[in-house]
Amino acid sequence: MTTPALEALPRELLVVEGARQIRDGDLVIVGTGLPLLAATLAQRTHAPGAKLVIESGVMFPRVVPTPVSVVDPRLMHGASRHGSLFEALGGLVQRGLVRTGFLGGAQVDEYGNINSTWVPRSNGERIRLPGSGGANDIASHCRQVVVLTDHERRRFPRRCDYVTSPGFLSGPGARAEAGLPPLAVKVVTDLCVMEAEDTALAVTALMPGATERAVLDNTGFVPEFSPSLTTVAPPAPEDLRLLREELDPACVYFPERKSR
């Protein structure tokens, strides 16, 4: 089958760059949506030995398209075990066996802390969000957290209104002081890649076509730009083909692709 020679959509770039954060042989904990597409893309390309863990207790599934829930039978397909939350988040994640976790959230702050509990309205009232789920556990115990998100100013405050899941808390050294293991945070947006290890998030790469100005205009804190700032490599044609034809053929997570 031939793939129409489309430019990669911004959110396809997110998925492809997300996939690149996974090393062959990693244990990766993911939910659904773009992170799951990134993880399964990694499995189909450079990381065939990467194994997925799902918080509901699914271990090492062979995912069929396109799961919409952590308990979707499409996500439970071909697993080596169907266990429990306690086994997945306790026995694997807290136990230290899962290197990489993908997380989302309403806010990610300068120190990589994540808020998925509540955000304030302009009148000071609170908008209730879903809550932590496994996110706090993943951010507490994995060695690397990857966040895939649209780059909007309201999503990147200097400080989260509420810290659900720990990045580097109040700054360098705070994580160790709290009793948490070391962590690397990587935030991939439609504008850039930001990274930190016990520091403030710094921009290490720009998405193709994005500018430093656009990043600064859409970020609620002032990130440093790496002296070795690079541009994210565009997806290989095979990456796009896999995403479009095999991993999400019905465009469940890419409604914008369906309309093209």
Binding site: G31, T32, G33, E55, S56, G57, V58, V64, V68, S69, V70, V71, D72, P73, R74, M76, H77, H82, G83, S84, L85, F86, L89, G90, V93, Q94, N113, T117, E125, R126, I127, R128, L129, P130, G131, S132, G133, G134, A135, N136, D137, S140, H141, Y162, V163, T164, S165, P166, L169, A174, R175, A178, G179, L180, V252
Partner: protein, 304 residues
């Protein structure tokens, strides 16, 4: 109930006997999978209120209970339906201050159930450290920060969670209350073992001794089960692994009403839960010919 039927009873009788006003109810299921919908419909029909609903992910059954005005408080890891959005009735009730909320991480809640399941007052975790989530849990009185007496590293002690009654839906149970769950078990096994009483609805009730040749495959032994209720499609519109897929159209319809408002959800409850006498009547009303249920069964067969 007779001696030969063991713990087998109807949903109405089990709920009337074991779910009391003001109870702490441990909710089975997760997201779109194996939620105890038949039992929750029965709680709504009987109007048993002032409930504290606890679980890891609370989804559709919680939202219906909130929409029915029966929930005083939730203690949970998440309240949402993932792809299908937030729990609109719950969110509005929490924002208005009508439903109290106790946030946890999923591992924190699973650990609280594990403590209850072992008869321990608490268990430690190394999650939560340094966060506002921990501060809230400490303030609420079910978490304390401490140190490991051996290494001195920080730990969080989590108070045992002991539901008054747990309600779950399973693939199969025998008449003595031995339960087999297929697929993931989320938080449910420890929740049931911690609870003071448990009602299990199951797709199928099987005779005594059915599991005798494979006792290691019993997910929950009868020691923890108070009542078993046979209810085919008892998790509808959520899924049961190896039995049927979730009914996306039903979940989308409920969520569209939830987004519209509380009054829309109350009308849905009146028309769909209160109107019928039992869950079979609800299933027949939603799917008169059974074609939807047949399709969901086929869909699941194609996936396992």
């Amino acid at each position: 109930m007779t001696a030969t039927t063991g713990k087998v009873t109807g949903a109405a009788e089990a709920v009337a006997r074991l779910v009391t006003p003001g109870a702490v109810v441990g909710m089975g299921g997760q997201n779109i999978n194996r939620c105890p919908m038949a039992l929750v419909h029965e709680v709504i029909r009987q109007g048993i209120g002032e409930l504290t609903v606890v679980g890891c992910n609370l989804s559709l059954p919680l939202d219906m209970l909130v929409a029915a005005g029966l929930v005083a408080r939730t203690e949970q890891g998440t309240g949402n339906l993932e792809r299908y959005g937030t729990l609109f009735a719950w969110r509005r009730a929490v924002e208005r201050g009508e439903v109290g909320v106790g946030d946890h991480s999923h591992l924190a809640m699973a650990t609280r159930f594990a403590a209850g399941a072992l008869g321990l007052p608490y268990l430690p975790t190394r999650s939560l450290l340094g966060t506002d989530l921990l501060a809230d849990m400490v303030a609420a009185g079910y978490a304390r920060q401490d140190v490991d007496p051996w290494s001195g590293v920080p730990v969080v002690l989590l108070k045992a969670m002991i539901p008054d009654v747990a309600i779950i839906h399973a693939n199969r149970a025998d008449i003595s209350g031995n339960v087999v769950i297929e697929g993931v078990t989320s938080h449910e096994v420890d929740m049931v073992r911690a609870a003071r009483a448990t009602i299990v609805s199951a797709e199928e009730i099987v005779p005594e001794g059915t599991f005798a040749d494979r006792p290691e495959q019993v997910t929950i032994p009868e020691a923890y089960v108070s009542a078993v209720v046979e209810q085919p499609f008892g998790a509808f519109p959520t899924s049961v692994y190896r039995a049927y897929d979730f009914a996306e159209s039903e979940i989308r319809e409920y969520q569209a009403l939830g987004r519209a408002g509380d009054e829309e959800l109350r009308r849905w409850l009146t028309a769909n839960v209160h109107a019928g006498t039992d869950f079979d009547a609800f299933l027949t009303a939603r799917d008169p010919e059974g074609s939807l249920r047949a399709r969901l069964t086929d869909q699941m067969r194609s996936l396992v």
